[in-house]
Subunit: 412 residues, 2 copies
């Protein structure tokens, strides 16, 4: 791992110097390699799949692991999409002349070396590498050991693309061992790695949070709320609650708890309850909710802390905005929270006072996503407050330094 | 400490809601309190000074600890200066409509709770608190135990100012114990503290780096370089080298190593050497340097890693830009580095490739400072790459979250 670290550091210096054109050429060459070597990728993947089945892995696991023609094309097209994104590196902003005569601004520069730790989804190898490279970084990829052959095959395509564009192959290195100790080393060697991006389930994130000595772009939970204010458009509230919960159950920006102001509860909760129960969504509510939705179960204190990732929803009737904000502060995970209201002042208070990475007015929490936000692509979502917050795209893989343009000025 | 943490978290919620006017009123009221209670402050400080002398503290220590009429006025004026700065909180930038119909932008918001750990300079109590509050944060102040009485007296003025403006007094809490274990708690209670800003010498920073579980805005070393390119204005190079080294010896942005291209060494080093030796600056150079400056001592490998903070300078003659960049990457501390050159392409390469928090062309490294950069004031300088990098002002004490303004949009 130390060797990988040193090689990554050296490659990062070359990548930081690379122009947009070379980086885009590399990304397109990678896409071409992936298409050309599709059969090799499928073969490597078949070996991984055979092993996974032998190990008795479940259907969901195998589904994540599998590569097919469609997923291979998605990887290639994804790399081309990243090539088409604007290069954030090198732009100088805010340049202003100071009374001393110097001009001071900030230049956007790559972070350096990024460690990506992910589970057995081979497509992450291409997706994450593409974003890291476009932002001028080197990366070390550590995918799930069950996808080792698939990842190595994809990484070979990526490295061939780098080489074709005259960029250092070591800007992407996939850890070639299934040894779990490699992760422990990767997340602590801060002389070589500037940031860690974990992609995976809660168990992975929790382990990394305990052990990492390097900052991470990560979120642990997505306990997202939709608060229906008593000054809401009732039809809109029903539509948003439905979409935020049921459009997809397993995503981190899915609404897990619905808060409803008591003044509008009788107007909206029966309709919302009917929709949820029709879609077989289990409802866990407080007393006021259960009076309005027959078929709702009793919510426990713990339910309100829970990220269901399933067709289950917690509902609570609150007095109004203050109680909603207090509930979110206590039970939420600082991921994404939305208010439905027609009252501008209340919307502004919600936006300002709810301390989450995304705060929304009259929109579904499901929009919290790099593509939906226009970031082009997303390496992950961060609920931490420092550096990148919310969906993280190319810009979150860069940093800024001060540049000073002088004309011989000295300080007196 | 847990109690302080909880109280700070609650106060931070109120501060985040506070408008600019209330915050500015508080800052001005603090300044008035400090002026009104000057005699109380001096009395508390006299008690600290008496104890310090009894404990046999040296002159430099006592000098940092002492309050006098001038320093008290500086604290008060400093708070008024912060009141006059623009409030970064609440501004929304980059708001753009997406194809889905939602508008997405970013809102600047306070970080939350900031822990300030500093040595026995009582003025930091007012200076740091003022910046934290203006950015809408609460703070917990832990100054050197030798300044305990002075800090408590200043903190009482600050809290009185908060109260006068109707803001929570607990937005500023000065730890009232000299027990060193309090620091250990402060830097690990991440449920209550969002960021730590250490203000002090290397020993303090090193200890905190080992023990902190909370991100810090900090720098360890300031091994700053000035590189004189062979395409430099020789007179400018001499002037900048002089200023960068000798304008002040003890600051972190002072040049510690001078790198000179071999093509211009004979032209500039004799003059630079004369100036340094006239000012009793000890020169430690490589062979090429010592040939041009009689009186220069032999530099060791270790000298090039050293932050002198004293009238000592390391000098090395290098082949050109590449060797200079490589030297800085190896021996530098990513703080501030400058090039003297008339060649635009080389200037641009230096700016882009030197991975430091401030990179400069034709200016003295001494300019790396929040006031000189126009940040208004500075809470510290960061050499880390994440969040804030370089001099950190009000903006570095805030973060951004995504705001989404919808009109009932759902995701399909």
């Amino acid at each position: 791992m130390q060797g990988l670290g040193e090689a990554a550091r050296a490659a990062a210096r070359d990548m930081a110097r690379a122009g947009s054109e070379a980086k885009n050429r590399a990304l397109r060459a990678m896409a071409a390699q992936i298409r050309t070597r599709a059969e090799e990728l499928l073969e490597a993947n078949r070996a991984d799949l055979a092993q996974a089945k032998k190990d008795g892995r479940d259907g969901a696991f195998v589904d994540r692991l599998v590569l097919d023609a469609e997923r291979i094309e998605q990887m290639a097209a994804g790399l081309e999409d990243v090539a088409a994104l604007e290069d954030p590196v090198g732009t100088i902003t805010g340049l202003a002349r100071r009374p001393s005569g110097i001009e001071v601004g900030r230049m956007r520069v790559p972070l350096g070396v990024i460690g990506i730790i992910y589970e057995s989804r081979p497509n992450v190898t291409a997706d994450a590498a593409g974003l890291c490279l476009k932002a001028g970084n080197a990366c070390i990829l550590r995918g799930g050991s069950e996808a080792l052959r698939s990842n190595q095959a994809i990484s070979a395509c990526v490295r061939a693309g780098l080489k074709a564009a005259g960029l250092p192959e070591n800007a992407v290195q996939a850890v070639a061992t299934a040894d779990r100790a490699a992760v422990g080393e990767l997340i602590t060697m801060h002389q070589y790695v500037d940031i860690i991006v974990p992609r995976g389930g809660k168990e992975l994130i929790e382990r990394l949070m305990r052990e990492a000595k390097i900052p991470m772009i990560k979120h642990l939970d997505g306990v997202c709320h939709l608060y229906v204010d008593d000054r809401a458009d009732a039809a809109m509230a029903v539509r948003l609650a439905d979409n935020a919960k049921t459009q997809r159950y397993g995503t981190c920006n899915t609404m897990e708890t619905l808060l409803v102001a008591e003044g509008i509860a009788a107007q909206v909760l029966p309709s919302i309850g009917r929709i949820f129960l029709d879609k077989a969504v289990e409802i866990r509510g407080d007393d006021a909710t259960r009076k309005l939705i027959s078929g709702a179960k009793t919510a426990t204190e713990k339910d309100y802390y829970t990220e269901w990732l399933a067709p289950i929803v917690s509902i609570r009737v609150v007095k109004g905005l203050d109680e909603a904000i207090a509930h979110i502060a206590r039970y939420g995970s600082r991921h994404t929270d939305a208010i439905v209201t027609t009252d501008q002042a209340r919307a502004e208070r919600f936006l300002r006072e709810v301390d989450s990475s995304s705060v929304m007015v009259n929109a579904s929490t499901r929009f919290a996503d790099g593509y939906e936000y226009g970031l082009g692509a997303e390496i992950g979502i961060s609920t931490d407050k420092l550096h990148a917050r919310g969906p993280v795209g190319l810009e979150g893989l860069t940093t800024q330094k001060f540049v000073v343009l002088g004309h011989g000025e000295i300080r007196s």
